[in-house]
Symmetry: C2
DNA sequence: TACAAAATATGATATTTGTCATACATTTTT
DNA sequence: AAAAATGTATGACAAATATCATATTTTGTA
């Protein structure tokens, strides 16, 4: 059984409020999983009964729309928690979580987390703040979806991806999304996404090399959108 | 000074967890306001330093987008609280709150609410659940904005308005929104909104009489969208 | 009441975006 | 290595939506 004390999730998430004793209790009841790229951690409608700590790898949170398309609501990176909202609302998951890369996660059962919740005020305050941040992001995201063009959303998404997940040595985006997934983030048809990427490529704002996307001049790109 | 005990907000919001003593404390420090239709309760970017209880009247929560249009994120009705997220995140308001009807609200200073927060576990749990509900709604709303057509969003919004705010004696929607505001809810240009309403009118799904909108057959309308 | 201002409505048109077909490239499987 | 499957790219076209212009109606107010 691995200790939780040095874990990246402990350092960056609401769990930083837990003391040594609580961390030991958590280490005892946690279950570690390896999730392969493309596999789900949980699916929309599933009863999760706990939260997941993302130790390594990025996943997408998405929801299937009536039109059959999968809208990506959020990307989650190492150090973050998954499933807090469902746990607190005591509801099945509203979103599916699917690995975009090979992942390492730990599952903490609900009973354990709720214990921390009542015993440790700082922890519950941290969770509350995290959810408030998510709510703000969701509201802003909604306004963008409603008011911005597909081109603007594509450009902003590319910049977000670079700033949030970083670049490879060759300056290409570190995170690898298929065109379909990228379209699912910006809320458009895959073909439209491909076409607009092509256009950005021809105009010299980005470079496309196979699956790799490289932003050539971030500021020019921003101004263009 | 009015008592809070019988207030509609106390009955329906997170405040239902407060005991008599806490309610008395709250009644002492609250400030009551009358807000006229069209006036703001607070504006985006403003430091609110507390929460508002909506005793009467409906207001819109909206955000100004880069393109100069105001996107309505949520409508808030009597019995609900305003400004919880900003208070918890300790940030200026992310959204503007503007009265759609004459309103009665009470302001409770942050210091007071935070006291309840630490002293009354049930209250903080209620607030947390409310924010979780808001987050789920926001995520779903975002998916709709990204994936549904303007016509679908208009139809769903009309049905939402009827189901949430009810009908007048003549069956028209009780809540009065200008065409511009309705467009701001569904995320489209005012002209597009007017045109689609016209179309629904000509097709016999709704009836337009001046500002009044009447849904003629909700089920047929749903199926149409 | 009459006037000005604002809101609603509609036409004409441009632009954006989606859909379907098909080609090409890459990856996976056999 | 060949074949199949999947992902990416592009053209042609249709549909949805935005924009601009201009009536028409409603509302607020002098």
């Amino acid at each position: 059984m691995e200790k939780c004390e040095q874990c990246i999730v402990r350092q960056f998430s609401s769990l930083k409020a837990l003391n040594k004793e609580e961390l030991l209790k958590m280490a005892e009841c946690k279950t570690s999983y390896t999730i392969k790229k493309g596999e789900p951690i949980f699916e929309e409608g599933e009863v999760t009964n706990g939260i997941y700590c993302v130790k390594d790898g990025v996943c997408k949170l998405s929801k299937l729309s009536d039109n059959g398309k999968d809208q990506i609501v959020k990307l989650v990176k190492p150090g973050e928690l998954l499933g807090q909202r469902s746990m607190i609302s005591d509801e099945p998951a509203n979103l599916s979580a699917v690995a975009l890369e090979d992942m390492e996660v730990c599952f903490i059962p609900k009973s354990e987390v709720m214990q921390f919740f009542t015993d440790n005020n700082q922890f519950s305050m941290n969770v509350m703040r995290t959810i408030c941040d998510d709510l703000k992001d969701a509201d802003d995201h909604m306004v963008n979806m409603a008011q911005k063009t597909v081109r603007q959303r594509l450009v902003e998404t590319l910049i977000y991806l670079e700033e949030t997940f970083g670049k490879n040595d060759d300056d290409s985006l570190r995170i690898q999304l298929s065109r379909e997934e990228l379209a699912g983030m910006i809320g458009t048809a895959t073909e439209s996404c491909i076409r607009l990427l092509s256009e950005l490529n021809k105009s010299g704002f980005v470079e496309l090399t196979g699956k790799k996307i490289t932003i050539l001049d971030k500021n020019k790109l921003k101004r263009f959108a």
